[in-house]
Point group: C2
Chain length 404, copies 2
C-alpha cells in the first residue's frame, strides 16, 4: 500500500511550519451563507472605483507600461511610496520620506516582515488584548511568547505595558516589540489618547524595545480629532508603522507598507523574495489615488459613518436595558459588544446561523484565552439598511440567548 503523502513529508517540516501545523488556517465559524455579512473587515463593494481602475490601467499602460510589466524596485514602486508620504502628511500631519517606506502585499504581509525581522521563537512580544485576530495569527506563526495587556477607553493601558516590561527586565529578558492598533482599535474601538501615545513611546525607549504601530483605518475618521501617530512622537527610531490601501481603495490590490527608520529598511527587505512588490498593481493603484485620494476618502467616510450609525441604531432599539455594552468608534469598520451577563454564546451562534447574520466571536481576538463575553460586528460590508436590519436580528438573537 502506498503510504499517505503526509507520512512522507511531515517529518521534514520546519520548526516554523510545525508551529501552525494541524491548526486550521483562518477563523472557524459556523458554516453559513450569510444574508448579513458582519464577520470580516470587508470594504464596501459599492464604493470600489471600478471605472477608475480601468482608466488608471489604461493610463499606466500608455505612459509606463514597460516598467509596470517587469521587475520593480526592491523597496517598492517609488510613486506609491511618495503617495503614502503625501497621504500621511495630508491626513495626519506626519512627515516621512519615500526612503522610509517599504511596500508589501497588504498590511498583513507588512506586519509579517516586521515579525520576521525582529522575532525569533520564544522571544517576548507585547500585544493588546483584544487585538485583530489576523495579526495574532501572523504573530503566533513567528513563535513568540505573547504577553497581553488590556485596552481601555484611552487605548492600550500603558501601566500594564510597564508592568510587563519590568517583569521581563527582572527575568533578564527583553521585549522584542509592542504591537498596538492606535486608531479605532480593532476590535474594541477606542482611539489611543495623546497621553498614552507619549507614554508608550517613552516606555519603548526606557526599556529598549520597538513599537509596531498598526493603522489600517486612520483616514476613515467620522468624527473627533486626529492625533499624532506614535511614529511622529518618536525621537529615538523605535517605531515601525504599518499601513494599507485595503480600506481606502480595495483589499484586492494587496498593497500595504511599513514606515520605519531608514537604516531598518534592509532588515525588512531581506524577507521580500522575488522581483519587487506588484509593479503593475502599485502603478495602477497609485495612478488612481494620485488623482482621487482626497475625494474618494471623503466619500468613504460618509459611507461608513452612515453604516455605523445604522447598525448602532438597530442594536440600541432592541438591546436597550439588557446590559449589553456597545462601542461607538470614531471611525473604522467595527463595533465591539460586551454581551449581557449570562448570554449563552453557543446558543447565540446557533440563533445567528438561523438569522443568517455573520459575526466574529470574541475569543479569536485574545492571544491567551478569554473573550467569551464579547462579539465583533463589522458594519463595513453591507449597505446601511442591511446594517440596521441585521443589527436588529442579531440583537434579538442575543436577547433570546440571554438568561431565562
Amino acid at each position: 500500500m502506498t503510504p499517505r503523502a503526509p507520512d512522507r513529508f511531515e517529518p521534514l517540516l520546519s520548526g516554523r511550519a510545525r508551529i501552525g501545523w494541524g491548526v486550521p488556517v483562518g477563523t472557524p465559524r459556523p458554516a453559513m451563507n450569510p444574508l448579513y455579512e458582519f464577520g470580516g473587515g470587508f470594504p464596501d463593494p459599492a464604493s470600489f472605483p471600478y471605472d477608475g481602475m480601468v482608466e488608471a490601467t489604461a493610463r499606466v499602460m500608455q505612459s509606463e507600461g514597460a516598467a509596470a510589466m517587469t521587475y520593480g524596485e526592491p523597496q517598492g514602486y517609488r510613486g506609491l511610496r511618495e503617495l503614502v508620504c503625501e497621504k500621511y502628511e495630508r491626513f495626519e500631519g506626519l512627515k516621512v520620506e519615500p526612503e522610509n517606506i517599504i511596500v508589501a502585499n497588504g498590511s498583513g504581509h507588512a506586519l509579517a516582515l516586521a515579525f520576521s525581522a525582529f522575532v525569533d521563537p520564544g522571544d517576548a512580544v507585547i500585544s493588546e488584548a483584544p487585538a485583530f485576530s489576523g495579526s495574532l495569527i501572523t504573530i503566533k506563526r513567528h513563535g513568540p511568547q505573547i504577553l497581553d495587556v488590556p485596552v481601555d477607553a484611552e487605548g492600550i493601558v500603558t501601566a500594564a505595558v510597564r508592568a510587563r516590561l519590568e517583569a521581563l527586565r527582572r527575568e533578564g529578558r527583553r521585549c522584542k516589540l509592542i504591537y498596538t492598533i492606535v486608531n479605532f482599535q480593532n476590535p474594541s474601538g477606542p482611539t489611543q489618547s495623546l497621553r498614552r501615545r507619549h507614554e508608550l513611546v517613552e516606555l519603548a525607549h526606557e526599556y529598549d524595545t520597538l513599537i509596531l504601530e498598526d493603522d489600517a483605518y486612520g483616514e476613515l475618521r467620522f468624527e473627533g480629532e486626529t492625533l499624532p501617530p506614535l511614529y511622529a512622537l518618536d525621537r529615538h527610531g523605535r517605531v515601525i508603522r504599518a499601513g494599507t490601501l485595503s480600506k481606502i481603495l480595495g483589499a484586492g490590490v494587496r498593497l500595504g507598507w511599513l514606515a520605519a527608520p531608514r537604516e531598518m529598511i534592509p532588515a525588512f527587505q531581506g524577507f521580500l523574495f522575488g522581483g519587487g512588490v506588484s509593479p503593475f498593481m502599485s502603478r495602477v493603484a497609485t495612478s488612481f489615488m494620485r488623482d482621487h485620494m482626497t475625494t474618494h476618502i471623503q466619500r468613504l467616510i460618509d459611507v461608513y459613518r452612515e453604516k455605523r450609525d445604522a447598525m448602532l441604531r438597530g442594536l440600541d432599539e432592541v438591546l436597550a436595558g439588557t446590559g449589553a455594552v456597545v462601542s461607538r468608534p470614531e471611525g473604522g469598520f467595527f463595533l465591539w459588544m460586551k454581551l449581557p451577563a449570562g448570554t449563552d454564546q453557543r446558543r447565540l451562534a446557533d440563533l445567528a446561523v438561523d438569522a443568517r447574520v455573520q459575526y466574529t466571536p470574541g475569543p479569536v481576538f485574545f492571544p491567551n484565552g478569554g473573550g467569551d463575553e464579547f462579539i465583533r460586528l463589522a458594519f463595513s460590508f453591507e449597505p446601511p439598511e442591511k446594517c440596521y436590519e441585521g443589527a436588529r436580528l442579531i440583537a434579538r438573537a442575543i436577547r433570546a440567548a440571554g438568561p431565562r
Copy 2:
C-alpha cells in the same frame, strides 16, 4: 548626542534577519548605465500585451469587479489555478488539479514558501551549482547548509546527488530538499535528461527527501523535445514544482505558484500572511491568458529564439578559436560562457563598463564559491540587433581581457 538608529535596533534583530544582515541585497555589479542589458532575466518589453491588459482589466471590472477588489481565497484565485492546470496539460502533458496549486507573488516568493515550510537553519539541502542567483539568495536567507552538486550536459549529476545523500546518511543526517532547475538550466543551459529525471525522483524516495523542481521557462522551448516534469514522474508525493507568469506574461504581475501534493498545501499557506495573493492582478492576468495563452507563448518563442541566435552569432564571429565555450540552450533567456583560459575577470568587468554591456559574473551562481571562469549573458531583454551588436562588443572585451 543621539545614537544612530542601528545601535538601537540591531541587538533586537531576529536570527533569520542576522543571516543576511550587512550583506548587500542583490548582485553587486559595477555601476553603469548599460546600452546592452544582458544582466538580469528581464522579459522582452516589446512583447508585453499592453492593450490586452487594459482590455482584460475592463472585462474583469465589468464581470467580477467586487471580487477583484476585495480579499481573495487563501490558496489563490481559483481561475488562475485552473489556468495553471490548463497550461501544464497543454505544454507538458501534466495533469494537476487546482487543489494542488497555491498562488504566490512570483516564483521567488513561491520558492520562499517551500523553504519556509521545510528548511530550518542548519538543515542540509542540495542545490545544483551553478544555480540561479536569486534562488540562492532565498535559500541562504533560510540558513541551511547548501551541499552543491554539479550540472553537466544532461542536467543535475545524479551520481553526485547520491554521494551527497549517502554522506549525510552516514552522518545520521537527512537532506530536507533538493533544488533543481529542470529546463534550460539557469544559468548553464542544459535540459535535464529523462534518465536523470527518473534517477532523481528515485533518489528522493530512496533517501526520504523532497525535490523542489523550479521551472520558470519551460514553455519557452525553441527546439527539442519537451520532457515530462519530475512532478509527473513522482509516484510518492515527493516533488514540489514552482512556476511563474513572469516570463510568459510579464514579471510586473508578480504571479507564481507551487504545485504540490494536496496535503502539503497548508504547510505553504501558513506562510502567506494577509488576504489572498493579488485578487485583482490574478483576475486580470488570468483573463488575458485565458484568451491568448497559446498564441502569445508561440509568439514569444519566436521572439526569444531570434534573440538567442543573434547573440550566438555575434559571440561566435568574434570568439571563434579563443577557447571560449558558449552554451546553446533549447529555450529560456540565457547563454552561459566558460571564458578562455587566462581571462582576467577584473579587466573584463572594466572593459564591459566601457562598452556599456551588462552581464552577470559567474561566482554569484555558485553557493559555495568558484565560478570565476564563467559569465552569464541574458538575451531576453534587448532586440535581436542589439543582442548581436552587444555580443560582439562583449566578445571583443573578452579577447582584450585574455592572456597577452
